[in-house]
């Protein structure tokens, strides 16, 4: 993992930044939300894919691309979470100042 993180740090940082931006926007975004049911379903699918990756079932380059996708996705989610959390803090402060 350390090797992968070091080798792909640029791409992972990119995924993190995309996630951070997306998280930042998501707090105030008025667009369509994914339903709770779909989030659960997608979570299950994601868990299955992670299981497949851990089991090393997919061979060769496809296996590598799967690992890479999951790693990017993981950093994306972390970025989203941090982005949303920070934006939420900013929004709460602004609201407090306005009231």
């Amino acid at each position: 993992m350390t090797y992968l993180a070091m080798f792909h740090w640029g791409w992972l940082l990119g995924a993190f930044l995309i996630g951070f931006c997306m998280g930042w926007i998501a707090v105030v975004y008025r667009g369509r939300s994914v339903s709770r049911v779909w989030i659960q379903r997608l979570s299950v699918i994601a868990a299955i894919i992670v299981g497949v990756a851990i089991a090393k079932v997919v061979p060769g380059r496809f296996g590598y691309w799967l690992d890479l996708g999951l790693a990017l996705f993981g950093f994306y989610l972390v970025g989203c979470a941090i982005g949303s959390w920070l934006r939420d803090i900013v929004v709460v402060r602004q609201q407090a100042r306005a009231s």
Partner: protein, 467 residues
Amino acid sequence: MHGFYRWSAKWWPGLIPLAILWAVAAWVSTIPLETDLTAHSTAALKNTILDKSQITVAGRDVSFSAEAFSEDGRRSAVSSVEATPGVRLVNDETRLVAEAKPFVWVAERDNVRVTLWGTAPLPASKARIVEAARAALSGTEVSDRMGLKRGAPPRFDAAAVLLLDQVAKLKEGKAVISDTNISLSGMARDLGGREAIAAALKNLPEGFTVAVNDVKAPPYVFQANKDPVTNTLTLSGYVPDNNIHAALASAAGRKFGNEKIVDNLKASIGAPGGFAAAVTTALGALSRLSTGTLVVSDREVKLSGDALYEVAADQIRASLARELPQGWQAKAEVSVKPAAAPVDASVCQQLFAQNLTKGRIRFEPSSASINVDSAGLLDRLVEIAMRCPNVKVEIAGHTDGDGDAAFNQSLSEKRAAAVEEYLVKAGLPADRFSTIGYGSTQPIATNDTDEGKLQNRRIEFVVRQAP
């Protein structure tokens, strides 16, 4: 926590750029990643001993094929690749190197190169053997055709290196290790090489035995060339030791009293039995030739040249075969020298005197038996007598002053008669010769010294013009 659920429901639009990023990352990073993993996996195997090692990386999965020299080594190599950072899976295609039964290794030498065949147990052994071959056979091309297999006997390397040293002593031939059996065949480069190889094989590593040692020695050659133009006898080739060298040089000196002897002989072991006796006999035969070459090769004596007259040629052919030691072969190609031009009585006398001054007819002590060393001189005297057919010759015998005068008188007469008999047997008419003995009455030097006595013991030829 509730907020996270709410926000995460709106994170999905970012998945589109993320997917694009993923695609680009996959496109850009795959080859460099594979190259990097190949390099790291190969580096991880640096200290493992493998043959035909091959690493192919697809994504993070490594296909590793190699031939290992032991099960432990094979497992260790696979573990090393598995432990390489970044490697996800190792597709293990390794196997053990085939086992050779019997384990055969060959070093074969011809005129041009040394070829190493068969199998070595490890790459390091192979390299060491090739290096040893280059060191032992400097200046000779070394062709390495060895494979690698398991099953070598213990101390194989040491045995192979020792054999390479022996191959260096061969002109051509081969050394074979088959399990713990050693076979050697071929021709030694130098005289004594066969013996040196046999001695070295006693130092083989423990466990190895010599199954066959069929190394042949090069022919043991002795040559003598009699050249009447330069009046030299050239000796070349080998003699077994300094004592025999001295004995043969002395025999040559007695038999070739007229010739200057050029001695190029070298001492070397490996002479066949009876060498000294055979060469002495053959030199005696050569001394009777006008011009000739003697080649003694192992147990074969080859004499070629021109005898001074027909009877001599017959005698040389017959006596050479008869007098050689048992087991020796004679090959005499003796022809007869064309008869020399006739000369008158005075020249004839001069030629007799010249030959009897340079050389001396020798007899056994206190006996009228002509010493075999004098055959060459007698043949020359016969030839001179043939050149002046119309003269009569008086053969005069003289002794030194030692002993009883009557005995000396009788001995001188018998010795003169023995010489006459030799001339008559050579085909000259008996009525051309008369003999006389002077005992010790006509000394030409003092009888007080050995040198003087030697000069006084003589045969003289006195030409008498035929009436």
